[in-house]
Amino acid sequence: MAGRIQSILRVLKNLNKNKNFGGIILKKKHLLILFALLLSFVLVLSACGTADEDDSANPADDNTETEGTDETTNEGTEEQAEDTNFKVGMVTDTGGVDDKSFNQSAWEGLNAFGEANGLVEKENFDYVQSSSDADYSPNLNRLVQQDYNLIYGIGFLLMESVTKVAEQNPDTNFAIVDETIEGDNVVSIRFKEHQGSFLVGVAAAMKTKSKKVGFVGGVESELIKKFETGFEAGVKSVDPSIEVVAQYAESFGDATKGKAIAAGMYNSGADVIYHASGGTGNGVFNEAKDIKNADEDAYVWVIGVDRDQHEEGAIGDTNVTLTSMLKRVDVAVQNVTQQAYEGEFPGGETLEFGLEDDAIGIAETNEEAYTAEIDEKVQEFKQSILDGEIDVPSTDEELEAYLADL
């Protein structure tokens, strides 16, 4: 980045030397300021962009993000069971391996895999961090060159890079989280977020007193829609008369907007808000805690997403986090890696992880708020989903059909 700026500045300087081009006299200062402003904007926008994407990836990906183990090249799918040369690596998106979200979760999955099989970090499993979008392909290629057998691309941001690199290296195995990629050497790992959202919807419906609950989404997209429709279906399954208001912040990193939306929803009578909006959700927690601070008896709740967000809801001795929708990327990563390790890499398949794999779940940390009564109801619905009695809708059309059937 710095290099790019320098070269731009150099070009600028040269421009300035020929102040008179095309008959137009450009003032050096103005030109420079203009360029610098432009540059700054581009930087900020790109920063926003990645942040958003990260975040978006987060809600969605938290549990999904990638696993990319490759079974590699040389060995391809040959028997690998007792093979201590097995190497699995993952490339994070810009969130980094300690993002408290899907990158971290994926890395935990690899660690769990390593531990279970007595493998050594760095030698048998490792990660590479990406500090910008431009790093994805080089990072993937680096792992390919180091003869990794399986390489994970964590998050939908890596989709293009993984697609390209996988095509160029047909002997290496890849996996992508939260996206679908065609190819015999790629596994696509996806999650049934709508199932988990359904369950927290049931919890919200049990908890609400005002008969009005809210949903705050990050960027409106197919992925986040799964959260919204699942949630609404869950709420209405308990009591169709409960009103569900949904609003999108159109950003995964705008805490201000999250706070403003939450303030509007709580003011208009909603008492439980489910957010699937990454960093925007910080604002939702902030607003709920602020209300709680002003009035200890205030009845406001937040439902977290991707991982247990109990910590975010803590205020004094109480907690506004009712529960969280858990997306266990680690479970999926460990599962796929293990298969690859045993020489049964499911190349070319799209794996959808859900309740049945324990890759989707619901947090029970806040025992005071998440009562036994609520849990009982949630378990009841969970069983129905597992038994196939309920097919949780994941799009607007399916939701409409589902609600009509209630």
């Binding site: 200062k29 610098a36 700054s40 609003q247 907007k257 910080n282 902030n286």
Partner: protein
């Protein structure tokens, strides 16, 4: 109607506060003739310091923690901005480039130190943020009370008070006159015995303090933690408010409040009956369209301080 206003105004106020403070910093700096693109970086620094201090000393200072945190963030912001001052005043580097460097440096430093100290990409949530309150007496006034003084953050009013003070300092005191003259015609000011360099140093340091204050107020009222995406673009919004407000402290405050109001309207409009039918995408872009309209239609020509962006070289003509 009343309850809609009661929702909109407090949101606009908490949204605007960090922007007002940072924009005032921009006004000071640019009025003295130093362009400050680095506002974003100064906010990042402020947010980082505010959060780290709060996390570290919450047990020691209890309820006073957020106030002390923003003071510390102010001091560190001021110190950090000296880099910009040295580069652009003493070494006459290009002020825009130096400002961009400040932005990079602050973000890099903040994220790096967060990883070093906390071992992860973002800090925990602070336990002692600012909470909204009802302002005694004022909140009991009928109609006005509930709209402006209930469930508001004290920092919002702090920002407005600071704006008034900034206006007084810049336009009613000898110091302010000197500061402005240095930004309009440094040579004339120099001839009259004003030390151009030290005036500019002071102005940049004030902008650092206010930027740090703005960033920490943002972090402690809204974000609650620090990560690479805590401050994204707020500094540039503030810069826009400086220009929108014609480099005048009260103008900048008005502009920041306008941004806040527009944002707040777009968020709340989904619960206003008349606006419910409007597709949400239009409401989302409304703040930006409103800003462009206001800029193009009502504000008129914005003229920057004449010597803005030009390093002063003693003795040159």
């Amino acid at each position: 109607m009343l309850d809609i206003l009661q929702t909109i105004i407090p949101i606009a106020l908490f949204y605007s506060a960090p922007l007002i403070l940072t924009a005032l910093g921009g006004v000071f700096s640019e009025r003295s003739g130093v362009v400050n693109i680095g506002l974003e970086g100064l906010m990042v620094m402020g947010a980082f310091v505010g959060i780290v201090f709060n996390l570290t000393f919450a047990d020691v200072f209890g309820d006073a923690t957020p106030w002390i945190s923003i003071l510390v963030a102010m001091v560190i912001g001021a110190i950090f901005s000296i880099i910009h001052a040295v580069a652009s005043v003493t070494f006459r580097a290009d002020q825009v480039v130096s400002g961009v460097a400040i932005n990079f440096l602050a973000l890099g430093l903040g994220v790096f130190l967060t990883k070093q100290w906390y071992g992860k990409g973002q800090t925990d949530m602070v336990s002692e943020p600012f909470y909204s309150t009802n302002i005694p007496f004022l909140s009991d006034i009928p109609i006005i009370g509930p709209i402006f003084f209930q469930k508001v953050y004290l920092t919002s009013y702090l920002a407005i008070i600071v704006a008034v003070i900034a206006w007084y300092v810049l336009y009613k005191t000898p110091f302010g006159l000197r500061l402005r003259s240095v930004g309009e015609h440094p040579m004339a000011a120099d001839t009259n015995g004003i030390n151009v360099y030290s005036m500019r140093y002071i102005a940049v340091i004030i902008s650092g303090a206010l930027g740090g204050l703005g960033g920490s107020v943002f972090a402690l009222t809204i974000a609650s933690n620090f990560s690479q995406s805590t401050i994204v673009g707020q500094g540039f919004m503030s810069l826009a408010a400086v220009i929108f407000g014609k480099w005048h402290p009260l103008g900048a405050m008005g502009a920041a409040l306008f941004f806040g109001l527009a944002q707040s309207l777009s968020v709340i409009s989904t619960s206003i009956p008349v606006l419910q039918e409007v597709p949400s995408i239009y409401l989302t872009i409304a703040p930006y369209v409103l800003t462009i309209l206001a800029l193009a239609g009502f504000i008129g020509r914005a003229e920057a301080p004449k010597a803005n962006g030009q390093p002063y070289i003693k003795g040159s003509r």
